[in-house]
């Protein structure tokens, strides 16, 4: 462009330089500025902002679908072998451990394989379930709620168990005696309020719940709510890991306001 005509092209040339729409604009500007060898990866991604955005949304959706897939119900096993076997299969598939009444603990090995012998125990009820660390969520609880004679349920460090799931545990009120919710990141005092349906509960572990705003006060209120239940955890030593020595320190020290 000749110099005297340059000022008049202030507005026009960016549009006219054979660009293909909006994307061409940034390319036009970029080529002027960065004369280094090739564009960096960041520039490449920034040119395709909406595509990257759509890809990230897709990946987010896929993660969610993965958890849903893990929590699908096993209706065939339930119809063929009964609700106890279906519940046991579900827990073992997730990586937990199951104990039938009168038998030993069954758990899957490091590769996720487990023996299917328990399908022979047709009418033997499941007594204890250890689902610690499993990706069990609201839908997955369907399989657990069918276990009408469940005595103890351990849901330690489950990342998807939240207040809504606790509101769903009331069908187990007749049999459940031990419940452990230690370390679940999504449980707060609002979900703990719905545990009052479980009148037969004798041991409740609510240590290490990060979403609870006031652990000491919550523990007092839960103890008032469930008078015949022993409530563990959530006292003044909040930073310390829960262990067997915590129970002996229980008696003497005051709980801070």
């Amino acid at each position: 462009m000749a110099a005297p005509r340059a000022p008049l092209h202030l507005v026009m040339p960016v549009w006219n330089r054979g660009t293909r729409g909006i994307r061409g604009l940034s390319r036009a500007v970029a080529l002027e500025g960065s004369q280094k060898k090739g564009r960096s990866l960041l520039q490449f991604l920034a040119d395709r902002f909406y595509d990257v955005q759509a890809l990230r949304e897709y990946l987010l959706q896929k993660q969610v679908l993965k958890v849903h897939q893990k929590n699908r119900p096993f209706t065939y096993i339930k119809e063929r072998f009964g609700p106890h076997a279906a519940g046991a299969y579900f827990i073992l598939k997730q990586g937990g451990a199951v104990k039938f009444q009168g038998k030993e603990w069954i758990r899957s090995d490091a590769h996720g394989h487990f023996s299917l012998d328990f399908l022979k125990f047709q009418a033997v009820p499941v007594e204890a379930v250890n689902a610690s660390g499993c990706a069990i969520n609201y839908q997955g609880l369907d399989s657990l709620l069918a276990l009408k004679e469940l005595r103890s349920l351990w849901l330690q460090r489950c990342p998807h168990v939240d207040d809504w799931c606790l509101g769903r545990l009331h069908p187990l009120a007749n049999s459940l005696q031990e419940l452990s919710l230690a370390g679940c990141p999504r449980i707060s005092e609002r979900g703990l309020a719905s545990l009052h349906h479980l009148q037969n509960l004798r041991r409740l572990d609510i240590s290490d719940l990060h979403a609870v705003s006031n652990p000491g006060l919550t523990r007092i209120l839960v103890e008032e709510m469930l008078p015949s239940c022993q409530v563990l955890g959530a006292d003044w030593a909040q930073g310390l890991p829960s262990g067997p020595d915590e129970q002996s320190q229980d008696k003497a020290s005051p709980i801070p306001a």
Binding site: P7, V11, D163, R190, S194, H197
Partner: protein, 462 residues
């Protein structure tokens, strides 16, 4: 005369001339970004939870993506008088009309999966602070039969509600005085209360990321055109179609005419005024043209008190047979509650001032009789909010107007709008995009019932 370019003044003048001449980019000399666009496919009047829910579902159900331009017009971006922000936040399925139960069931599922529906990349997940403590409705001798039939309907629709006798009530909740209570219905799952402000902000954030435009202004005028047709019986009928919505900018006399295809009236307590602007109800009384939208503002008080010996953590949302209600708030023995006044005692809805004598005379006595621990309490604070009260039958109005053909209503929920908002939004979006309801059939909530006199009476209004 020496012509020199002093400080770029020449280039400025050149820019101005270029912006006016055709063929150049439009660089207006002043900033107009506060004005709404000149064209929009759908204009939603009201930016509360119902309006935002309609916007969300419109953008979610549209095919192809980005097909519909939606504009939400909200007069007050601080939501200082909006019913959503001042709501107590309860959600229940214990209604008598089956459609209400279905709406509430879907809405609670939406809230449970809120982080899947309203997820925005890079933003933190929403925590609506749901308390799954359930609702406890108490009935005296007179209301026991109605309550039983209601619970039957609720169970049929899939709500988990159980009936309790006074004996069972005393065992479960020893702090209740069951004198005068014949029956109680208790929601075991999916009922409780949550934080409505969080839902509002979550919807706003998601809806903005989906491309809905917001405008801070007030709708002052509708420009419409009419056409005359004849019905089968030979009567003349005038159909109106709204072409433009005049949006007046806040604190200014400037307005922008927005050309639109559809208008959705989600203005809550002020829907009656918006409907009048559109010409609904202008005609001889007793005809369809003369039927006004019977939604008016009603003021309701909410009081927060502290009671040191009050009911514990398991307290549900208790609604007494007399209409007084209360629920726990937080861990510190604070309680929220109130009572709906009778028709004669309705307070003046002109402002949101709180009447503390109302608590002393009408709220405290029934609650203290029901929960003896409440005899010693101290009121900490109080506020007032509006119900978009439907004087006809206290249920929502959803669907298009029969004569003003492109105005859709989503209002009149009389105190249970928040808990039905996600489902109502989806129903209105289905009506707009497909012409009929697909998932929940809300035909009983059509506007024409006001003219035909068919009441869909909801008995469990709090």
């Amino acid at each position: 005369m020496r012509f020199s370019d002093q400080n770029g003044k020449m280039s400025e003048i050149k820019k101005k001339i270029q912006s006016v001449l055709p063929g150049g980019a439009w660089n207006p000399p002043y900033d107009t970004s506060y004005l709404p666009p000149e064209h929009s496919d759908v204009v939603i009047v009201g930016g509360g939870v119902i309006g935002l829910s309609v916007a969300y579902w419109l953008k979610r159900l549209e095919k192809p993506r980005g097909a519909i331009r939606v504009l939400v017009v909200e007069r007050d971006h601080t939501y200082s008088q909006a019913s959503t922000a001042l709501s107590v936040g309860g959600i229940r399925q214990q209604f008598s009309v089956p459609e209400n139960i279905q709406l509430s069931l879907f809405s609670v599922e939406f809230l449970r999966n809120i982080n899947e529906y309203l997820a925005v990349v890079d933003d933190p997940p929403l925590d609506i602070q749901f308390n799954p403590s359930g609702y406890l409705l108490l009935a005296s001798e007179k209301g026991a039969a109605v309550m039983e039939s209601n619970v039957k309907v609720q169970r049929q629709e899939g709500a988990k509600v159980c009936l309790m006798s006074p004996e069972q009530l005393r065992n479960k909740f020893p702090w209740i005085n069951t004198e005068g209570v014949a029956l109680a219905s208790y929601g075991m799952e999916y009922e409780g209360w949550f934080d409505p402000w969080c839902l509002l902000q979550g919807l706003r954030r998601k809806v903005q990321s989906m491309g809905v435009l917001f405008c801070h202004g007030e709708v002052t005028r509708f420009v419409s055109s009419s056409s005359h047709t004849e019905t089968t019986s030979g009567e003349e009928v005038t159909l109106k179609r709204i072409h433009e919505v005049h949006v007046k900018i806040d604190r200014s006399l400037e307005y922008q005419p927005v050309e639109c295809a559809l208008v959705i009236n989600a203005a809550g307590a002020w829907s009656g005024q918006i409907a009048e602007l559109a010409g609904v109800g202008k005609g001889p009384p007793g005809t369809l043209q003369g039927t006004k939208l019977p939604v008016e503002r009603r003021k309701r008080y909410v009081y927060l008190w502290h009671c040191p010996q009050g009911p514990g953590l398991e307290t549900p949302f208790v609604v007494d047979a007399s209409g007084a209600y209360f629920r726990r708030e937080g861990l510190g023995n604070n309680y929220l509650g109130g009572c709906s006044p009778t028709e004669e005692e309705e307070p003046d809805p002109g402002n949101l001032e709180v009447d503390h004598d109302f608590f002393q005379d009408k709220v405290w006595p029934p609650l203290a009789q029901r929960v003896p621990a409440f005899e010693t309490l101290k009121v900490r604070s109080a506020w007032a909010g509006y119900y978009d009260y439907n004087t006809f039958d206290q249920n929502g109005v959803v669907g298009p107007h029969p004569l003003v053909v492109n105005m859709y209503f989503a209002t009149g929920f009389s105190g249970h709008g928040l808990q039905q908002a996600p489902a109502v939004g989806r129903a209105v979006a289905e009506m707009v995009l497909d012409g009929h309801f697909q998932t929940i059939n809300l035909n009983p909530f059509h506007f024409s019932r006001f003219y035909l006199g068919e009441k869909v009476q909801e008995h469990n209004i709090i």
